[in-house]
Structures are given as structure tokens and as C-alpha cells.
Subunit: 464 residues, 2 copies
């Protein structure tokens, strides 16, 4: 009698084939494979012919990013420091978007900001005002600022001032509000507005005085340390927040007008391990901004989402946005919520990945898999993959478990297109309705569409 060996299959491509075979008891080894991205043959040709120019430009960008030295100088109301921000303007996360196309959480945050500013007395009034065209909406990124989730910044909100000591430019971000019902997830109830007022009237002056006494706080040092302490400074900021408190606390003792105000400020920071996110984000922003406009460079200077669109900017094409639809992250959902409740990817926080932290440095933060799902080995493998699409390794920021290898830095659109591999982002997930808040955390790959556009645009600049 003839014997048949059991069938063993290697499946390349469509997951469905693999699932079907497995259902029939066949041993299948799936192989991840992405087809080359759909860019034009002419663009490929131009990029190939200009490889040397691109390489030289990217080397210049590498030098700019590696030299970056973010430091915290203090806080001021947004209206006094953010360039171009006027009284009828609100800044938001991600690429430009009209009121009509905004997602639920961004709508909610806009309503909340108008209530906070006293421009509207009720949510209905605020909504009418936002829809009337009376309010100008602009991306944070176009005003040297960044904001997590909805990322709304209004003129009265105090913002951290973060300077890149290497190049002198500054970036701005609000103070983190904490967890639960907060403006950045689109909540605008009275307690949300009251908290924002307390942050303006108590937290801001208390922190600012302490920081001014210190002169500055070295964020580069804190971030480098935090990567040695299990943070990736996007979704895990427990070490960063702790190291910040270590520096702030003695200065608070020496400067606080009242011990109780200072203690309240510390208590507020203490219960919120995400507090440092609102410093790692402007740190990344001020390090990347000086690279914007370096001709011929294929390195990203921003990735940002407004909850509807995912936008990127390229050093070689300056302020231009390339956008595509934002995706819904694969997430670990909090009890009672599911993917049905999730808003597509939102927030400027992917600026941390653009700087080589966050999902790119997730190997430094294996404990984060409790928060975003997966196993420790996944954290290592995500970072390993990101080296494939990065231009260099930034030795200022090292990953101990990889024997202090520098973080993968400088996302190269040419490599992204060549490999069909988009950046990996680990992120919080907002409820799609305003005001409900965070429903989970997870991982998401950037959509390919903006990278295709950026690649084509870069090719056009090289042809000119």
C-alpha cells in the first residue's frame, strides 16, 4: 500500500488561504509578504537615478536629528507664544480638516475648547459657532505645536515651551489632563472645563515657577534614561513622569506660593503616568522641525492623525501634507468596549515614532504589551522591523536589551515603498463618540497611501 506524507504548506500572501488550510487540519507556515507599493514606474526611475542626492540629503537630515537637544524652558499661555495663533483660531491634531469632516472626539474637543474660552455658553452654541466659519481651524503642526489625541489648543491654554538647544527653534504642547473624561478624548462636561481652569490658574504658574528656578529641564537626558527604564515615551511614560517629578519636586518646594498648591500639583502629576507624553511629543517635534525643507531628503518630519485622515510630511517637500484615511488600531479594549466603538487613529503623538521612539523603540518597553497586547518577543520584533525602514540608528537613545543599539530613526519613504512596510505606531484608542474617552490601546501600522503620494511628490521635486 502506498503511503502519503502529510501535506505541509508555506503560504505567502493572503491570510484566507492559510486559514482555510488550517481548518482542514493542514500544517501551514504563514509568511508575511507585502507586494511592492503602487508607485509609478517613472517615480521609481527618478528616485533610483537620484539615489546619491537623496543619500546626501538624508545624511544632512540625520545630522540635524542626531544633534537635537530638547529642553523644557517653562510654560506660557498659548496666545503669547504660539506663532500665528489668534483669538478666533483653534489648533488640532493631524493634517488640515474642515469642521464637517472632523470625527466625534475632535468635534467634542472643539466644543469643549469654545466653552473653556467662554466663547460659547452651551454645547449647542459652540457647535453652531464652529460650523459658522467664524472659527479658523489649523493643524498644531503648522504652528510649531503638537497635541495628543484630538490635540486641541486654544489661546488661553498654558503650553510647555520646549527648545531645541542645537538649533534654537521651539515646540509647544499643553499640559496632560490625566485619564478618564478629558478634552483630548472629546469630553466637554463641566468637570472637564473646571479641570482645564485649574490647570490654567494653579498647575501652570506652580510648574512654571519651579522650572524657571531650575533654568531648564534636560528632556534629552530624561528620554534617554526612560528608554533604559522600560518606557518608549509614547504609550508608556511611567519612568519619564517619575524622572520629571524627581527634578521638579525640590524646585517646587523652593518656589511654591503655598505648600498645598505645590502638593496638589504633584498629586495631579503623580496619578497620571502619561503626564510626560506632553513633553516627549514637543521634544520630538522640535528635534524634527529643523529638518523640514532640506531638499531631496526622503526622511519624514511628521506623522499625524486627526481621527479622519493620516498625514505625513517629508523633509524634502517641506510643509506639504500627504494624507490617506486613518485606520482603526488593533487594540486591547477596556471592559465593555470593542472595535465597534473605536475611532480611527487620532493624535499628533506619532511624532514620537517619527523621532525614533514610541513603536520604533518598543523593544525598550516590553512591559507595554500588557497595555497594547502581544508578547515580549513581539516588542523586540517590531523594533527590529523598523530598522528596515529607518535611515540611521540614533545613539543618543539606546535600547539596553539590544545591547544598547541606537533607536531606529529617520523614517525613509523610499525604504517604506521599496519594502511595502509602513511605520508601526503604538497608540491609545478613543471612543468614536465625543466625551466617552479612551476605550483601549493597541498597535497600528500607518496606511500606505500617504507614503505613495510623498514618494511621487519627492520624485517630482527631483525632476525640477
Amino acid at each position: 500500500m502506498k503511503e502519503f506524507k502529510p501535506l505541509k504548506v508555506i503560504n505567502l500572501g493572503l491570510q484566507r488561504f492559510e486559514d482555510d488550510l488550517k481548518a482542514q487540519g493542514v500544517e501551514v507556515q504563514g509568511v508575511q509578504w507585502n507586494p511592492p507599493a503602487a508607485v509609478s514606474a517613472s517615480a521609481i526611475d527618478i528616485i533610483r537615478k537620484n539615489a546619491d542626492r537623496i543619500e546626501a540629503a538624508n545624511t544632512k537630515v540625520q545630522e540635524i536629528i542626531a544633534a537635537g537637544q530638547p529642553e523644557l524652558l517653562g510654560l506660557e499661555p498659548a496666545r503669547t507664544v504660539i506663532p500665528g495663533l489668534h483669538e478666533d483660531m483653534l489648533l488640532h491634531a493631524g493634517p488640515p480638516i474642515s469642521w464637517e469632516r472632523m470625527c466625534g472626539p475632535l468635534h467634542g474637543a472643539v466644543i469643549g475648547a469654545l466653552l473653556y474660552e467662554g466663547k460659547a455658553r452651551t454645547p449647542q452654541e459652540a457647535e453652531a459657532m464652529a460650523a459658522s466659519g467664524q472659527i479658523e481651524f489649523a493643524p498644531c503642526h503648522e504652528h510649531s505645536a503638537v497635541g495628543p489625541m484630538a490635540g486641541v489648543i486654544s489661546p488661553s491654554m498654558p503650553v510647555f515651551i520646549v527648545r531645541n538647544a542645537a538649533s534654537g527653534n521651539q515646540a509647544y504642547c499643553t499640559q496632560n489632563e490625566g485619564l478618564g473624561k478629558v478634552l483630548r478624548y472629546g469630553a466637554f462636561s463641566p468637570e472637564v472645563i473646571a479641570r482645564l481652569k485649574w490647570m490654567e490658574e494653579v498647575l501652570y504658574p506652580t510648574l512654571d515657577k519651579a522650572i524657571r528656578l531650575l533654568g531648564k529641564i534636560d528632556l534629552k537626558g530624561i528620554i534617554a534614561q526612560a528608554l533604559h527604564m522600560g518606557d518608549e515615551v509614547h504609550n508608556r511614560n511611567r519612568a519619564g513622569t517619575s524622572l520629571l517629578i524627581r527634578q521638579l519636586a525640590p524646585a517646587l518646594l523652593r518656589t511654591a506660593s503655598s505648600a498645598e498648591a505645590a502638593a496638589q500639583a504633584l498629586d495631579f502629576i503623580n496619578v497620571n503616568d502619561h503626564f510626560f507624553l506632553n513633553l516627549s511629543m514637543p521634544a520630538a517635534k522640535c528635534v524634527l522641525d529643523p529638518a523640514s525643507g532640506v531638499p531631496c531628503s526622503s526622511i519624514l518630519t511628521a506623522m499625524a492623525r486627526n481621527g479622519t485622515d493620516f498625514g505625513i510630511r517629508l523633509a524634502g517637500t517641506g510643509d506639504q501634507w500627504f494624507s490617506g484615511p486613518a485606520l482603526v488600531p488593533d487594540a486591547l479594549y477596556f471592559p465593555g468596549f470593542s472595535k465597534e466603538d473605536a475611532n480611527p487613529d487620532i493624535g499628533d503623538s506619532a511624532i514620537t515614532e517619527t523621532a525614533g521612539w514610541g513603536g520604533f523603540a518598543i523593544a525598550a518597553a516590553p512591559a507595554i504589551v500588557q497595555f497594547v497586547g502581544g508578547r515580549a518577543a513581539d516588542a523586540l520584533s517590531y523594533t527590529q522591523q523598523m530598522y528596515e525602514i529607518s535611515f540611521f540608528e540614533n545613539n543618543n537613545y539606546q535600547i539596553p536589551i539590544l545591547d544598547f543599539r541606537g533607536t531606529p530613526t529617520g523614517i525613509d519613504v523610499v525604504k517604506v515603498i521599496r519594502l511595502g512596510l509602513t511605520p508601526f505606531i503604538d497608540t491609545g484608542v478613543a471612543h468614536k463618540e465625543p466625551g466617552i474617552g479612551q476605550v483601549g490601546a493597541g498597535v497600528v501600522s500607518a496606511p500606505l497611501e500617504p507614503f505613495i503620494q510623498a514618494y511621487e511628490a519627492l520624485a517630482r521635486t527631483l525632476q525640477e
Copy 2:
């Protein structure tokens, strides 16, 4: 012509063969191999026949250790809280030792403590007094206390009071003095004594008031978190120190008699990432002490070194010490120092390894290889090996990179002898002369001798 293949050698045992062959350009693969330890055939026979009794006793010890809940209650002068401590007594690290046999750093610390207490006016007077028999020396471990390096505790020194909430017992440890010239490394110059006085008069009351306001500080929670943040709470305590400051700072603001005193206290802790060591040590001690005296158990309750002898205690043999010569660690030496300068292994800090932290949890702290030498993979492999000689995995303390596997806990002398594999300790290295201080940090395996004695003694108790 006949061809000779290049010689390839696998070397089992003596390192010298390997080195000689390598020097001749031969490719050698070294294999670590230890002969079974030299215990008596009769002891092996008794241990084998009583395997079930030992297993049952060890299970009881496992329950005691796993239930441990260390919490910090406050501080008091040693004389008022440490049981049995009297005015003419000094406690020291490690097993019992006479003045004559003490190493340089311990001599220096005894001199310093007598100067600090005002019992002697000059180092010469102190030395004469110590040699006269007027001063009683006793191990910290015999008085519910632990001390890093020389580990000297004198009656006026304030000590942390750490309670095991599960069993009600307490353990004590001094406040960490910081780096450089300090008593625990045998320094006794005027600035060392002045610092100890400041710690008694300013630091102690300031910290104590803050801790009493909080009621208690949960050390179990801090240690579990610190293991997620790159500490192993023996030689790396940056996260533990940071998390402690986060809890202390708001309470300091609310209780300090003067803001400047509180700020000075925070500044003092802030510049010393080892501050938390003097809390992780009594935390380990109070968790292990209730296991002492559980009949038939082969699990260690202490490993401690006085710089001359390395001593261990076993649950099944209670307060008895088993000692052998302390070894000199393999270390990364600070510039200007070498192994010639190093004192043999010293300090009670190996209580952290005994509790499943330190070298046993070093996989959680890959960044520590910068301090103690080696590569990240070594950190993983050290912890993996320690599972082989541990009785259980303590899920209260998890290692993220090993997918949250519990730390290897409960060092089992039967396994140590069977495998010829002694506990791995990562440690600071003291200069052998008093007063010079730390000269490096490194790794050391416990000597086998005390384990052989403990094994034989356990066998005798099983025969009775």
C-alpha cells in the same frame, strides 16, 4: 598531499586549557561544567530518603515568602527599635566575626561609628576601643536588620522600619549615605561623620514625618513596578528611588517644618540612585525572616558577607550560620583601580538575591550590564540559570522580557549541591583599604563551601 583540517576543541572544565589553546590560535568552545559538590554519601542518602518531607517544608516556606508584604512605616533611632541592640554594641554585615578578622572597610566603618557616637575622639582611640573587647560586635541579621557593604549600625543611627504586613515582623536598615566617601565603604573622615549627623538631625525627622502622614509606603508595589522599569533592586535602584520620591514629595510638602529642609532632603535622595537599596534590603529581610525555623526546609533565608566570610542561613536550620571564604567579584573597575585593590565580597545586600531579586532578577535590568559588565544576553542567561536552583517562581514580582515570568525565588540548597551551581550575585566592590570607597561593580558566584555545610547540617536535622 594530505590535508589537515584545522583543530576544533571543546573544552570542559579548567579555563586555563582554553586560554592556552586560544593563545595558539586554536578555535575553542568553552563549556561551563561543575563537578558535583563534595558532600558526604550519607548526607546524600538522607536527603534523598526525606525528599517528601523537604518538599512539604519548602512548600510551606514558599507560601510564607509569596505572602510577604513589605511596607515602610517610618524611621526611629536604632537604639529604640532594634531588639537587643545596646549602647556598647555595633552591628555589622555578614556572619559573626571578631575585630581581628575583620577586613579593611569593616575596620574603617567601626572606627567611623565610634567617632560618630562620640565614644572615641580620634581614629586611634576608636581602634584601641574596638580591639579592647569593650565593644560587642554582632551581625545585623541576628537583630532583624541588614546593612549594605560594611553594614555597620550604631545606636544613634536612624533606621527605616519595614514591616511584613502578612506576618507582623519588622526589619531595619539605615538611610543610604550616597556615593563617594561613605561609612559603608569604611570611610571615617570628618565629612563622613558630619553627613551622618545631618542624616540624623535633618533627613530622618523630615522623611519620618512625611512617611507617617502617608501612613505607610507599599514597598511590594514599588519593587514589583521597579522590576518593570529596568531595576533589579540590588545594584540598580533608579526606578525604585524615583517611585519612592513620587510618593514622598507631596507628603514632604505637607509636613516639612521648613521648605528648605525638605528640598535638601529631596536633593540628597535625588543625586543617589542607590537610595532605595536601603529599602529593598529590609523588604527582603522581613519577607524571609518568617521562614526561618521551618523544620526540614532546604530553602535559604539569608546570604551575607562581612568581607572575610560568606555566610548563609537555611530555613530548616534556623539561626545557624554556614560560612566559607568570601570571593573577590569579577568587576568593571573604576578608572585607576584593578582587582588588586578589591576587597572580597562584602555586605548584607545579597538578601535581595535570597528574596529572588538582584542577580536572580537581572533579566529585568539589561541596562545594568553597563555597570557590572557583560552583554544583555548575559543578563537573560543569569536569570535563566537561577531558575534551576530556585524552588518556585514568585508571580508578585515579574520580568516583562520573559513574558512576565515570576522571579526565581527560594534558593534550594539541595538543587545547588546537585547541580554544583551556586547563586549569582551582582554587587558593588569596595577597596580593601578603609576609607577609599567603591572601586567597581561586578558579578560574583557564591562560594560552594557554605552550601556543603548547610546540606550536611540539614541532613543531620532530618536524621534526628
